[in-house]
Symmetry: C2
Subunit: 128 residues, 2 copies
């Protein structure tokens, strides 16, 4: 298959593209991460999200430890070709390493970030 779709992406100088992951049915934004060319190709080939971990400088098969993989339902590109929006089905209903559904669980209220959401599973039981 032609790789034109990869060429159309405007990669950063570091060869990355920002990626937003949104639960396809609830529309909840659950995560934000980065992909490089290889991880994006793997994502499409495997049908599950593969990110590029900037902190660990390696491919990160989302859910590789936790089992909380993200099945790809749809993949969207923005008008400038430099941001990807993934519609996913979040396995286990937990995207965040804190054991919450979404990484976005803090809201700004009266000048403070307030945690608004319960931990669904203790991280001690998610990561061995």
């Amino acid at each position: 298959m032609s790789k034109d779709w990869l060429e159309q992406i405007q990669w950063t100088e570091d060869g990355l593209v920002p990626v937003i992951a949104q639960q396809h049915d609830s529309c909840r934004v659950v995560m934000f991460a980065w992909m490089n060319r290889e991880s994006l190709q793997l994502t499409v080939e495997e049908g599950y999200a593969v990110y590029w971990s900037r902190s660990r400088q390696r491919l990160w098969h989302k859910g590789e430890e936790s089992g909380h993989r993200q099945k790809i339902i749809d993949m969207q590109l923005d008008c400038d070709g430099d941001v990807i929006l993934l519609k996913v089905d979040q396995v286990g209903g937990i995207a965040c390493h804190t054991g919450r559904e979404s990484c976005f669980y803090q809201s700004l209220e009266n000048g403070q970030w307030v945690s608004k959401e319960p931990v669904l599973k203790d991280p001690k039981h998610i990561y061995k």
Copy 2:
């Protein structure tokens, strides 16, 4: 008011933070952009999204030309403190400079990015 909430944000080396804008009721992700410290403060003070335009290297009051401002409904921070999710009410129902509701209007289908969404208003009539 204390500015601790600003200190808790993990800014990039360039002093920026990535920002996802999501229409609060439809849950549609409409845009992705960046903020610096000043634009984030202005966003909170004015109640409407102010971004930092990296291409123009200046503050960008979203909608300053088009009128398509983004009223802030909620502001969320992710687990690592380095990504912001804005719940907005998109004035005019158009977030994209192409005249579409959302910047994410292309889906990957059979190895091609396919435009899936109509232009609601001709950009010639949005921008003078």
